[in-house]
Symmetry: C2
Subunit: 190 residues, 2 copies
């Protein structure tokens, strides 16, 4: 059937929403095209009316999730205090346990490193994130803000990825707590 033109764009967005959620939760290889379309409420056929291939969807998903993440970051990161709260929330058990709504870099960085076609999208997201963190960096001298931002982002990502991989709850919490405290320690010595 032919559908009202407005619905097409809306469906495109809905596919991206569902795909981002599922990919972040289970990885690119862990979700099939059919499953994404089913979550969107369609059969798998029309997928190719919207995307050239699964890999094209993967790249567009990173851009889509990036836009959402940057909008959220902009709303909280207007002050050093906002940045500190963002960092604390990032290194929380809630974020560790909610991959689907969580950080796209923590979810995709390792896979992206193995898929050259996806690097450009993740690189752009990382650059934009670094820019926002650096602008309101609450630690040490402004001169070192960019380098300190990268250290902080690396520790945040590594902390969440490690805490998710542990099957020992206490150890998982200890990792998050240690990274949180350590990064706040950087602040106190500014």
């Amino acid at each position: 059937m032919r559908y009202p033109a407005a619905e097409t764009a809306e469906k495109h967005t809905r596919i991206l929403d569902e795909a981002s959620r599922l990919f972040k939760a289970r990885g690119f290889g862990g979700v099939s095209v059919a499953e994404i379309m089913k979550a969107t409420g369609l059969t798998h056929g029309p997928f190719y009316n919207h995307f050239a291939s699964k890999e094209a969807l993967m790249a567009e998903c990173i851009d889509h999730a990036s836009a959402a993440a940057l909008a959220q970051l902009d709303s909280v990161a207007e002050t050093p205090e906002g940045m500190r709260d963002y960092m604390r929330a990032y290194l929380s058990a809630d974020h560790r346990d909610d991959r689907a709504q969580g950080c796209l870099m923590a979810a995709f960085a390792e896979q992206t490193g193995r898929e050259p076609g996806l690097s450009a999208s993740l690189t752009a997201h990382f650059k934009a994130t670094v820019e926002r963190f650096t602008r309101h960096f609450p630690w040490r001298s402004k001169k070192a803000a960019r380098a300190d931002t990268m250290l902080m982002l690396a520790a945040m990502l590594g902390g969440v990825v490690l805490s998710r991989a542990m099957d020992d709850k206490a150890l998982s919490e200890e990792i998050l707590e240690s990274v949180r405290t350590g990064l706040e320690g950087l602040a106190s010595r500014a």
Copy 2:
């Protein structure tokens, strides 16, 4: 054919060596059982004489790579200086570009977080790594050595994973350099 008993154990080890190498380079999903067996010089049939399933191989691979990594760590991490060199080498372009010989946590942590069957092996490796780092920790007070170790390991892992995901060579180097300098900064303020 029946083979001399000694060869069987040796083949088992060879499968683990090749599988570890390939899995680290391309991920668990990116390598087939047949490819591993071919790399070992065998057809894919006898795989099941050695392992119950691909997932069992994956778990055993983590243990196997862990033993090798810990042995290497023990040989260099007997002094604070050795630890510092280890950290620098970890955050080098060489390590970034050589996944196959590189850190198993950087290669497997994200996938392990999604596969409950693998968590136990990676948790054990992380605990052993923390123990060794803490014992010879070259930073700050001994009292905080364990927490500082976890911060350092998180930043190292995150730094390498991020640098591998970038398609911008200069940015990739900048991440490694920033994390390296930042962690050394922690030392100078000990």
